[in-house]
């Protein structure tokens, strides 16, 4: 899936707290949630939305250790 702000693919990061999708454009959140729900991937959306330098709001999606980051990335990539 292409990030509507940067126009680059959304990339899942591995952190000490499990995989996280940072800098998710708020405008794409529902679409991403529908995609993850459709694949039965459990996640938790960041409660804060931040807009830097007047750019559109972004947030983060957390997955926890139980979800494989490669699977998440593959699901996102499959959305084009």
């Amino acid at each position: 899936m292409i990030d509507a702000i940067t126009e680059r693919p959304l990339v899942v990061k591995n952190t000490g707290g499990g995989p996280v999708l940072f800098d998710v454009p708020a405008s794409q959140l529902k679409e991403i949630q529908a995609l993850l729900d459709g694949h039965g991937i459990r996640y938790s959306v960041e409660e804060y939305f931040i807009a830097f330098d007047g750019k559109p709001e972004t947030t983060a999606i957390y997955f926890g250790h139980a979800v494989d980051s490669k699977k998440i990335q593959s699901v996102l990539d499959s959305a084009g």
Binding site: K13, T15, G16, G18, S44, V45, Y48, F52, G64, H65
Partner: protein, 231 residues
């Protein structure tokens, strides 16, 4: 009514502490989110900690910022929620037992405790503290059973007790088992266990928030019921 006033104070303090921990969590995350963006736009730098010897450059700090948001802040504040609840719960029991020490009529006291105590209140406090220290090491379900045995409050619900037990089990695994769900976690968490043995304990945002809300509700319910009984 000193007992009623004391319970009011205890409840308000626990609520304020829970709010402060939740605010710290939010502000901490925002600070790291902002810093993460700022770092990316800065010239290259290296920070050296003269105490630990750790050197951190830009990419390192970005990675750490992400883990601090996804794990450290979440786990630390989650543990704080549980600590605040434990302190509240046992402080409330202490207040109640000091006000109604006849609940402990059958307890035996070392003669040394009596000799060392300046007055009867000090003996009572020693007996109450010894009693509560023993209850503390029981399971949360037993804590609430003990509370109900001393003062029938009619709360929290069984579902809330089980959720608190699972949260406490998660906290114990984070503190005592390097964040891994062991047999102790499964035993303590019971049917609400969120992990299988050997899995890493996750504290995701929604679970973090739900636990905070649960503890706030239970603190309010127990306090208000105790105030009504004491009044």
């Amino acid at each position: 009514m000193p007992l009623v006033d004391d319970i009011h104070t205890l409840r308000d303090r626990a609520m304020a502490d829970l709010n402060a921990a939740q605010d710290y969590f939010g502000h901490g995350k925002i600070a790291w989110f902002v810093l993460r963006q700022v770092i990316a736009a800065r010239p290259a730098f290296v920070i050296r900690n003269n105490v630990t010897g750790t050197a951190t450059n830009q990419p390192d700090l970005v990675d750490k910022a992400e883990t601090y948001v996804a794990r450290e802040l979440t786990q630390a504040t989650f543990q704080q929620f549980i600590s605040i609840f434990e302190a509240f719960f046992f402080d409330l029991l202490r207040l109640w037992l000091l006000a109604y020490p006849q609940h402990l009529m059958g307890r035996k006291v070392d003669f040394k405790t009596v000799l060392d105590a300046p007055d009867k209140d000090a003996v009572t406090l020693a007996v109450v503290n010894k009693e509560l220290n023993e209850v503390l090491y029981e399971r949360p379900a037993d804590w609430f059973a003990y509370l109900n045995d001393k003062v029938k409050l009619g709360c929290p619900t069984m579902d809330e007790i089980e959720r608190i037990a699972e949260a406490k089990a998660s906290r114990d695994a984070l503190v005592h088992n390097r964040g891994v769900a062991g047999r102790a976690y499964l035993l303590k968490a019971g049917k609400l266990a969120r992990h299988k043995e050997g899995e890493q304990i996750d504290i995701l945002q929604d679970y973090h928030r739900q636990t905070w809300e649960l503890i706030r509700k239970v603190v309010a319910d127990i306090s208000n019921a105790a105030i009504a009984k004491a009044a």
